[in-house]
């Protein structure tokens, strides 16, 4: 299967043979050293194709610091720190999404893609793979690492300055703005605000000033952070259709936007998600009434509130309201490892000398791990972890 390459995007092919010789490459890969089973030297997600399925590719530390300052799951971050390298496995769902992204028509409204699957199958990391691809393609990344964090465990809820009915979350908003700034440094000076925003009696942002100022304002004045986030979202949505930049909206755990919250007002009455300013703005962002980008989402049960453990389908996790809001979307199922990917993962751990048991090299050891984890990536990682 050949990929249609978007003209003007890929200037050079790279050291590997072109993708149309996929079959030939398979043979090549098999005859190379065992290292090639689990790793590939192709570090640009744009060039990942089916022949790389099951192989790990390296993410440079630079990308980690900028793009993934807040996106990766915590266990993965620990693994990166241990191995001193960030290697992500190329898998079929991510490849499918990359294929769609490469072929997006930016004149049409943004398409929504939803990763769904059982717990621990790799939805968040597939999302990160696609974010890395978009970052390399120079898109503007709007990444909310975990929407569930916004609907629970919030210590300080302020009444919103903009709208009296809604609530602000200053701390989370300011941290998110900081990460957003590190991820999209170069865009913040290019994009200009198209309205005047008055923060309070003394401060205001003029029309035409760069977006970076709004972000700075939000970081410095924590009280206005949530409003700053709202402004950023509004401006980006408005201006992405103009074509200056491509916008990628990536939300992990999008089912938090339509679920219930555990936050309460002072009089102990519960707060609905739409009464949180951030959630309200985010819902507007996830609607597909803008062009010039794509929306990639994940539904997960892990951080969700009041959802049964066994639920994993989008219908169950989003609820009726969420499903109607997100309809139509393209669902992508992320499943457990197939045997090849499982082998590759074990090889990767063995190469990094992570599996210290003497039986880990043998076939019986691999069979045991296979049985115990049932080829689930999350479970396998936990099994192989330190005690």
């Amino acid at each position: 299967m050949t990929f249609e390459l978007d003209p003007g995007r890929f200037l050079h092919i790279g050291t590997q043979a072109p993708q149309c010789l996929a079959a030939h490459l398979d043979n090549q890969v098999a005859t190379e050293s065992p290292r090639a089973i689990s790793r590939t030297s192709e570090n640009d997600p744009a060039k990942h194709g089916e022949q790389h399925e099951g192989q790990h590719y390296n993410i440079s530390f630079q990308d980690l610091k900028t793009v993934f300052s807040h996106g990766l799951p915590p266990r993965f971050v620990m693994q990166v720190k241990t191995f001193n390298e960030a290697c992500l496995m190329v898998r079929r769902p991510a490849l499918e999404l990359l294929h769609y992204l490469k072929n997006t028509n930016f004149a049409h409204p943004a398409v929504r893609y939803v990763f769904y699957g059982e717990k621990g199958t790799g939805k968040t990391l597939s999302l990160c793979h696609s974010i890395h691809f978009c970052a390399k393609q120079d898109w503007l990344i709007l990444h909310i690492p975990d929407a569930h964090l916004w609907v629970k465990n919030c210590r300080d809820l302020l009444q919103s300055t903009y709208n009296k009915q809604r609530f602000d979350q200053p701390l989370e908003a300011s941290t998110w703005l900081k990460n957003f700034k590190t991820a999209n440094e170069h865009f913040l000076s290019q994009i200009k605000v198209q309205e005047k925003y008055v923060w309070n009696k003394r401060e205001s942002t003029e029309k035409g000033s760069p977006l970076g100022e709004v972000v700075e304002q939000g970081i410095m004045r924590v009280r206005n952070a949530t409003d700053a986030v709202g402004i950023v979202l509004k401006e980006l949505k408005r201006q992405s259709s103009s074509g200056i930049f491509r916008l990628l909206v990536a939300v992990d755990g999008v089912n938090a936007l339509w679920g219930r919250t555990t936050l309460k007002r002072e009089d102990k009455s519960p707060i609905a998600p739409e009464e949180l300013a951030f959630i309200y703005n985010l819902r507007k962002m996830v609607k597909n009434d803008w062009q010039g980008g794509a929306i990639v989402l994940t539904v997960s049960q892990t951080g969700s509130l009041f959802k049964p453990r066994k639920a994993y389908l989008p219908q169950e996790l989003l609820g009726k309201e969420g499903f109607d809001a997100l309809d139509p979307f393209i669902p992508i199922l992320v499943s457990n490892y197939n045997p090849k990917e499982f082998e590759s993962c074990i090889h990767y751990y063995l190469e990094n000398n992570w599996l210290q048991h003497e039986k880990a090299h043998t076939e019986e050891g691999k069979k045991e791990l296979l049985f115990l984890s049932n080829r689930n990536p999350g479970q396998l990682e936990r099994l192989c972890a330190y005690l």
């Binding site: 059982e118 453990r309 066994k310 019986e364 069979k367 045991e368 296979l370 049985f371 115990l372 984890s373 049932n374 689930n376 479970q379 936990r382 099994l383």
Partner: protein, 396 residues
């Protein structure tokens, strides 16, 4: 007057039911005759005796001394037992001549239904030999002279046994020497089958000799017997040695191995059941699978999120090195998460017996895969906070 004799437990005390409580019309005449006979026999201690509790303030030394049963007493008990057996057979409408001990047990369980959990506390009626502990008869005559020549060793039965065994050993060796002298000595050594029988244990030997033994004595005796059995023996010596061997039932033969069944697609499968605490599991193990396990319709990774439970499921397959070869479908109910895992493990092990050779079944049994775990939750007792935990002890 009823003369029905029932003994409870292995205690030394006995009881007699007086009064016409037994309301069977049959055999009344016999009973009356028997009772009259009892009444008339002199020195009969039975009639009047009721079980009285002796209330003393001082330690009753006499009561603490072990009650000795005289030979006459035991004989009388045996007679009464036999008569009672015949009465019981009459009551139950069976033939008194062919009334066996199992029949007696069944009759007693029927006539005296007991809800007690401890089996030894229920009413039993057994031969007095089994109830009263064996005691030695008086070892010396009226002049005070002991009967046995080894009496003054202190352990006459043990030493006489050793003496006898060694005598037999010497006989065998003499015979061998004679044969060798004649040249007819043949090297045939027939090995007694070691499996299927075992030597007596020390407690059993003590019971047989009615004497206390020490560990060294016992070891010495067993060594002598082994030495004797190593040589080619006559039938007499075989019989002598055989008195000290008990048969051992081979455990593995008790395991029923179900034959393989075949479903409509032609796939071989086998079912098994297992229990653990309150959990019950039914399992169907299919051949030519890929290691997929489904519990109550859900994948086992989702049903057992804890790794420990999945390790329990893995154990039978891992033990037989058949990790990726079978598919399993099971239903389980009751119990908690670990109990369900244990129940499924037992059920899969039992189901796998059909796929596997007899040796491997024996290995599984020795590994403990085929034994149902008998541990259940212990009941809470009154006066305590839990099964074992007592209430906090307060000094005042």
């Amino acid at each position: 007057m009823a003369a029905l004799r029932v003994s409870c437990g292995a205690a030394a005390s006995y009881r007699l039911f007086l009064g016409g409580r037994v309301s069977s019309a049959r055999g009344q005449g016999l009973w009356k005759a028997a009772a009259a006979k009892l009444q008339r026999s002199p020195g009969c201690q039975i009639l009047r005796l009721r079980h009285t509790t002796v209330v003393t303030t001082r330690k009753n030394v006499a009561a603490l001394r072990r009650e000795t049963y005289t030979v006459d007493f035991i004989k009388k008990q045996i007679e009464e037992f036999n008569i009672g057996k015949r009465h019981l057979a009459n009551m139950m409408g069976e033939d008194p001549e062919t009334f066996t001990q199992e029949d007696i047990d069944r009759a007693i369980a029927y006539l005296f239904p007991s809800g007690l959990f401890e089996k030894r506390a229920r009413p039993i009626m057994k031969h007095p030999e089994e109830i009263f502990p064996k005691q030695r008869a008086i070892q010396w005559g009226e002049d005070g002279r002991p009967f046995h020549f080894l009496f003054y060793t202190g352990r006459q039965s043990y030493y006489s046994l050793m003496h006898e065994a060694y005598g037999k050993l010497l006989d065998v060796e003499n015979r061998q020497d004679q044969l060798r002298a004649k040249g007819l000595f043949s090297e045939k050594t027939k090995a007694r089958d070691p499996i299927g029988s075992r030597w007596l244990i020390k407690e059993e030997l003590e019971e047989m000799l009615v004497e206390k033994l020490s560990d060294q004595d016992y070891a010495q005796f067993i060594r002598l017997l082994e030495r004797l059995s190593a040589l080619p023996c006559d039938a007499a010596e075989e019989e002598f040695v055989g008195r000290f061997r008990r048969s051992v039932t081979i455990q593995s033969k008790k395991q029923l191995i179900e034959p393989l069944q075949y479903d409509e697609k032609g796939m071989a499968f086998s079912t098994g059941q297992g229990n653990r605490k309150t959990a019950k599991a039914k399992v169907a193990v299919y051949d030519h699978g890929s290691g997929r396990i489904e519990v109550n319709g859900v994948d086992y990774l989702l049903y057992f999120p804890v790794t420990q439970d999945r390790e329990q499921l893995m154990f039978p397959f891992h033990f037989l090195d058949r990790l990726g070869e079978h598919d399993v479908t099971c239903t389980v109910s009751g119990g908690g998460r670990a109990a369900q895992a244990g129940a499924i493990r037992l059920a899969t092990a039992r189901a796998l017996c059909s796929f596997v050779t007899e040796d491997e079944v024996e290995w599984m049994r020795q590994a403990g895969l085929l034994t149902a775990d008998p541990r259940v939750r212990e009941r809470k007792k009154p006066g305590q906070e839990g099964a074992r935990r007592k209430f906090t002890w307060k000094k005042r």
